[in-house]
């Protein structure tokens, strides 16, 4: 079919849609932009590769997902806080130990490690809102390497994971204030006096990425929300929004939304670090905690309208956009003015000994972006993009400096708006939180998809939409249905990293690794049976394990392959056991042999033409 025929067919379709649109009530936007000509812009042919990685959080699924951009294809799942039999995560002893006593987490905001204010492609940090943890994914092998937490004195790790310019810290803030130290009882009726929030600096070892709790700053029991770190002029600072500055403890929907403004926290994290060095902190649950009323210069408050959500520093580090989700404006603050106000003590009072920076002294302008503004991202070309939850749209606007005419009518700096389907939460532009954003694509992460796809029953997927932001006008390119539930994401240029594809034999330091059939074997001491096993196409060595009922069985299995993609799995029938071993890896499975009988074990990860024959028996004697 020629292009012309396509066009004819396309316009016929468009006419048909226009005709039916007449039957819909005004404002209905069921079908949008049915223009196939943009398809080529996100099309990545079979065998061709995407230009960017999209790392998106999986919310309460506990996982991180990897998609490609612009194709939006789901490529891989990185299990973090929940077991994932597909990769054997949560079944072997190592990952079980890492997950601790939890089987899920609520992943919200992935943050890529940075060096000099740019992505360095080393690690991806993700938070667990539910169990106060933070995890580090190594981008060398796309594996979760550490889970830190539950973080002491922090409850509801939502305001995370905000990485400082050189990955000195991943910054974290408490969403749900509780009586501290954790474990102490107090009546929620005494919320204002007994409860506290916390801002934490999670220190990152510059070489290994190993995380530890560096310091904490005690706060009033506001509910800390989103944050961002500074750079350039705001280097060494971090910002969080809060809701519930009313410090209510029940029916927050109404009780915490009465005030016109809530507080943002303006945190000098370098000062916090120094205060701890100077011995100005007191230990609480093993962590040095700073009381900011006693250590001036660490924490300031800034009133922002109303029930704010996102607070995002622009690539220059000077402009900070905070969006009040219940007010149709995004407030732009000037960090240079903030510093001046702090220096000249231009405050409008204090809250519990914390100075409140005078709002009017630091505001640059309130941009009328639209209804329900949440988060702002930047393209590095002077433009900002704010998600509008209520309006289901993305607004594009110009960052300051603004000329007098623009200042007079800030409507004029709102350059473009594009509807999304539907109810956008976060949005992401590659490198928006760095000094050099990629500025080519924007991904809108929508909370609802409401029938834009074949029905899959009541539990509908979230939609994510790819928007081209390279031109003057935003253009919708593609939509995909992402794993539940994407909150925030990070976009990384594909060539910024070079992941390994096998674990080199030389790097395997596991003392239980065996590389040769002659080293494999079974040893018993008392009722403990230890198996050292080799997995290779297409056999397990040994392939017969004899134990007695009640024995404690430990199987160390080494995948001795050194070939890309040659993965083996060890699934044991009726033993709730599936460990998956990457080439060159050794993993340990531990279980108690229960009911007598003979149980097959087999390779769960398709490996070769004789994969089906890769099996053996666990014989449990009575």
């Amino acid at each position: 079919m020629s292009t012309r025929h396509h066009l004819v067919a396309g316009s016929a379709l468009a006419l048909a849609l226009a005709a039916t649109a007449g039957c819909n009530p005004p404002g209905s936007s069921k079908a949008t932009q049915g223009d196939a000509s943009v398809a080529s812009q996100s099309y990545v042919a079979p065998g061709a590769k995407d230009e960017y990685y999209l790392f998106y959080s999986g919310g309460h699924s506990g996982q991180v997902y990897v998609a490609g951009l612009p194709s939006m294809r789901h490529i891989s799942t990185i299990p973090v806080f929940a077991p994932y039999p597909a990769t054997g995560y949560g079944f072997d002893e190592e990952s079980k130990a890492m997950m601790g006593r939890f089987t899920w987490g609520d992943v919200h905001h992935p943050g890529l490690s940075q060096t000099g204010g740019k992505y360095d492609g080393r690690w991806l940090f993700v938070n667990d809102n539910a169990n106060n943890r933070i995890a580090r994914v190594d981008l060398r092998d796309f594996k979760t390497r550490q889970i830190l937490g539950p973080i002491p004195n922090s409850s509801g790790n939502h305001g995370s994971s905000f990485v400082t310019e050189n990955s000195e810290y991943v910054l974290v803030a408490t969403r749900f204030s509780v009586p501290l130290p954790k474990g102490r009882y107090a009546d929620p009726a005494n919320y204002q006096t007994e409860f506290n929030g916390m801002v934490s600096g999670i220190r990152v070892d510059p070489k290994t990425g190993e995380m530890s709790v560096g310091w904490q700053v005690l706060t009033p029991p506001f509910n800390w929300d989103l944050g961002s770190t500074g750079k350039g002029p705001s280097s060494g600072w971090a910002f969080w929004t809060s809701y519930n500055s009313e410090m209510a403890h029940e029916t927050l929907e109404a009780t915490s939304t009465q005030g016109e403004r809530d507080y943002a926290a303006i945190v000098n994290w370098r000062a916090a670090e120094q205060a701890v060095k100077d011995g100005k902190a007191t230990m609480m649950d093993g962590v040095p905690v700073i009381d900011p009323a006693k250590v001036p210069g660490v924490l300031y408050f800034l009133a922002v309208p109303k029930s704010p959500h996102g607070i995002d520093t622009d690539p220059s580090g000077r402009w900070i956009a905070a969006s009040g989700k219940l007010q149709p404006v995004t407030s732009v603050f000037d960090f240079e003015k903030i510093q001046k106000a702090i220096a000249s003590k231009t405050f409008e009072g204090e809250v519990r000994g914390i100075p409140v920076i005078k709002h009017d002294a630091v505001i640059e302008g309130e941009v009328p972006v639209g209804l329900g503004p949440l988060h702002t991202q930047y393209d590095g070309k002077g433009n900002a993009y704010t998600s509008l939850y209520v309006e289901s749209a993305v607004a594009k606007w110009s960052l300051p400096p603004w000329n007098d005419a623009q200042k007079k009518d800030l409507n004029s700096i709102v350059l473009d708006k594009i509807p999304v389907q539907f109810n956008i939460g976060h949005l992401v532009i590659g490198g928006s939180d760095t000094k050099e954003p990629y500025g080519k694509y924007l991904v809108a992460m929508n909370k609802l998809s409401k029938g834009r796809h074949v029905s899959v029953g009541p539990s509908q997927p979230e939609s994510s939409q790819l928007i081209d932001i390279s031109g003057k006008k935003m253009q919708m390119l593609y939509e995909a249905y992402t794993e539940p539930e994407p909150h925030f994401a990070q976009i990384l240029k594909a060539d910024a990293i070079a992941p390994i594809e096998v674990y080199p034999k030389a790097e395997n330091t596991n003392p239980n690794a065996v590389w040769d059939a002659s080293q494999a074997g079974i040893t018993r001491s008392g009722n403990k049976v230890e198996v050292k096993m080799v997995a290779i196409r297409s056999r397990f060595i040994p392939d017969k394990i004899e134990v007695k009922a009640g024995d404690e069985v430990t199987i160390h299995v080494t995948n001795v392959e050194q070939t890309t993609d040659m993965i083996h799995g060890l699934g044991i029938i009726e033993h709730d056991m599936n460990v998956v071993i990457d080439p060159g890896e050794t993993k340990t499975a531990k279980f108690v042999a229960g009911k007598p009988g003979v149980y097959a074990f087999y390779c769960t990860n398709f490996c070769s033409a004789l994969h089906q024959e890769m099996q053996g028996y666990l014989a449990v004697k009575p």
């Binding site: 096998v502 290779i536 196409r537 050194q562 070939t563 070769s608 033409a609 004789l610 024959e613």
Partner: protein
């Protein structure tokens, strides 16, 4: 008849010409360099091995592609058809070849210094024989690998002869064997020996007459 033999002997006794000696010297250098370069590449390409599995044969070792991993991979694949694992230790040639090349280089150098046409003929002929024997031995080794298949192998395939030069399809693989730089250096050595010979004997007929 007798005169012919005498004239031939006289020709063989002629010292090498100076350009001939230089050509030979270059040849010896190439021979030694060639001994350090890969002689032959065997590669296997299949849909799931698009980048190919390669074995580079040197005079003294086998270098497998992908940091040596391809040898293990080829052996793992070969176990399905019952081919015995390819091991460097089995290649006796690799112990002999560097020594042999050393001998050729030494004889070459001697000819450069005190060479006569006779020694060049010896060098050329014996090197030709050595080359043909090595190639033959290589072919025989390939033949043995492809024909001594274990009867207990998971997959039964007709015994096959991997090609010595060129390409052929074996199951899902396209197997290709091609000479590499080392072989070309060896060939160049032979060509230079011949060139040196030609240079040293040209015009000899006139003198003899």
């Amino acid at each position: 008849m007798n005169a012919r033999i005498v004239s031939m002997n006289r020709l063989l006794d002629r010292p090498l010409s100076m350009p001939g000696r230089l050509l030979l010297l270059v040849g010896v250098v190439l021979l030694v360099v060639g001994a350090t370069l890969p002689l032959w590449r065997i590669s296997l390409v299949a849909p799931q091995y698009e980048e190919g599995l390669t074995l580079d044969m040197y005079t003294y070792r086998i270098a497998a592609g992908n940091n040596g991993q391809d040898l293990a991979e080829i052996n793992t694949l070969n176990h399905y058809i019952g081919m015995k694992p390819i091991a460097e230790a089995d290649f006796l040639e690799m112990k002999v070849l560097p020594f042999a090349i050393g001998v050729f280089a030494l004889f070459g150098l001697r000819a450069v210094v005190v060479g006569r046409v006779m020694s060049l003929v010896d060098l050329g002929v014996s090197f030709l024989y050595f080359g043909a024997f090595s190639l033959g031995s290589f072919a025989y080794r390939l033949y043995s690998y492809g024909h001594q298949l274990s009867p207990h192998a998971p997959m039964k395939i007709t015994p096959f002869m991997p090609v010595v030069i060129g390409s052929q399809q074996i199951a899902n693989f396209v197997q290709t064997s091609l000479p590499l730089a080392g072989t070309f250096c060896m060939g160049a050595f032979l060509v230079l020996v011949c060139a040196a010979l030609w240079h040293s004997v040209r015009g000899a007929g006139r003198e003899v007459a």
